[in-house]
């Protein structure tokens, strides 16, 4: 391609600066990678990369600290919102977010996230719901669907003995300290775009000191679901979304009229 032509070409998409130039350990097609990319794009756009501190959880995303080009710490299982609380209270000018799976946040860590939301901590939670424990081999999570087969519910989740799944975005929306609680999905380009907007809004909530914000992202786990990446996107859309509707469960009225 000659230079004259080059001058007439613009870059419409490139890897965000808030991601490190490294490979991830995620399985092919795992949408943890998409969620990372979206968070990084938002941090770039808000120009807050250099004053952001992430809190990684326990789960497949435990190595998030190697992938984001921001400061990062790693919390004990489920405790990321408690750690984020301490960091944000000591360093209120920083943007502080946790990145947690459903085994981490909705099971062992449900107490921490509920308490942090009730206190209205000015932090942002990125919550990845892939309906199982990915890292440890696909066991049943609090988010596993009724009837869903996992390695620890081989006959399908029986709600009689194992209870019903947790709908985290709806649940956390009931708390006074929560300013923003929404659910989005990562299964197609339109929904990925909507997910990015929601993440931007959540970080803007924090930047404005408006309290607790959470974005629940429906995500795939092709490896433990025993599907190809494309099959898993379809399963997410057809099986997960009916139980986990995409929607805004709480939006602080002070956000009305703000466009990012």
């Amino acid at each position: 391609m000659d230079t004259a032509q080059h001058e007439l070409e613009q870059v419409v998409y490139q890897r965000p600066e808030s991601l490190m130039e490294v490979d991830t350990h995620y399985c092919p097609g795992c949408t943890h990678g998409v969620a990372h990319r979206l968070v990084a794009e938002v941090l770039d756009e808000m120009q807050v990369r250099q004053r952001t501190i992430g809190v990684a959880s326990v789960g497949c995303s435990v190595f998030a600290y190697n992938y984001f080009n921001t400061d990062f710490v790693q919390a004990p299982h489920g405790r990321a919102p408690a750690m984020a609380t301490g960091i944000k209270r000591c360093l209120p000018d920083r943007i502080v977010f946790t990145y947690q799976g459903d085994g981490d946040m909705a099971s062992i860590g449900m107490g921490e996230v509920v308490a942090a939301a009730a206190r209205g901590e000015n932090i942002t939670v990125v919550f990845i719901n892939n309906a199982n424990y990915g890292m440890t081999g696909g066991q049943m999570a609090p988010t596993t669907l009724p009837g869903q087969k996992t390695t620890s519910s081989p006959n399908g989740r029986d709600v009689e003995t194992q209870g019903f799944p947790m709908q985290a975005a709806e649940l956390l929306a009931t708390l006074e300290g929560t300013s923003y609680s929404v659910r989005r999905s990562l299964h197609d380009p339109k929904n990925v775009r909507m997910a990015k907007k929601a993440l931007r809004t959540a970080f803007e909530v924090q930047a404005r000191g408006m309290g607790f914000s959470i974005v629940e992202l429906l995500s795939v786990c092709p490896t433990n679901w025993g599907m190809t990446p494309l099959q898993s996107l379809k399963w997410l859309e057809e099986a997960m979304i009916p139980f986990y509707p995409i929607g805004d469960y709480k939006v602080n009225p002070a956000l009305a009229g703000l466009r990012f």
Partner: protein
């Protein structure tokens, strides 16, 4: 005329998941059948003309492996100047 674009795939970062090939509205991405990357996957590549630089492949790529370029039309470029 639709805009003209192209993509560059960071081949060694690609994990061959095929999310981009499925999402591309122009069907101009395919997995390079004759080539393996350092991870052992057939990487995604642009196979023919017709890319519009829409960016949809990059939006779905979990590895952030795709850079998207779009030609700026002569008229638009001179209008901007």
């Amino acid at each position: 005329m639709p805009p003209k674009g192209r993509i560059e795939v960071n081949e060694n970062r690609c994990k061959g998941c095929e999310l981009c090939t499925d999402a591309c509205p122009q069907d101009v991405i395919s997995m390079a059948a004759e080539r393996l990357n350092t991870k052992g996957y057939h990487p995604a590549e642009l196979i023919e003309a017709g890319c519009t630089g829409c960016g949809i492949c990059a939006i779905v790529c979990p590895e952030a492996a795709i850079t998207v370029y779009r030609e700026v039309s002569q008229r638009a470029a001179s209008a901007e100047a």
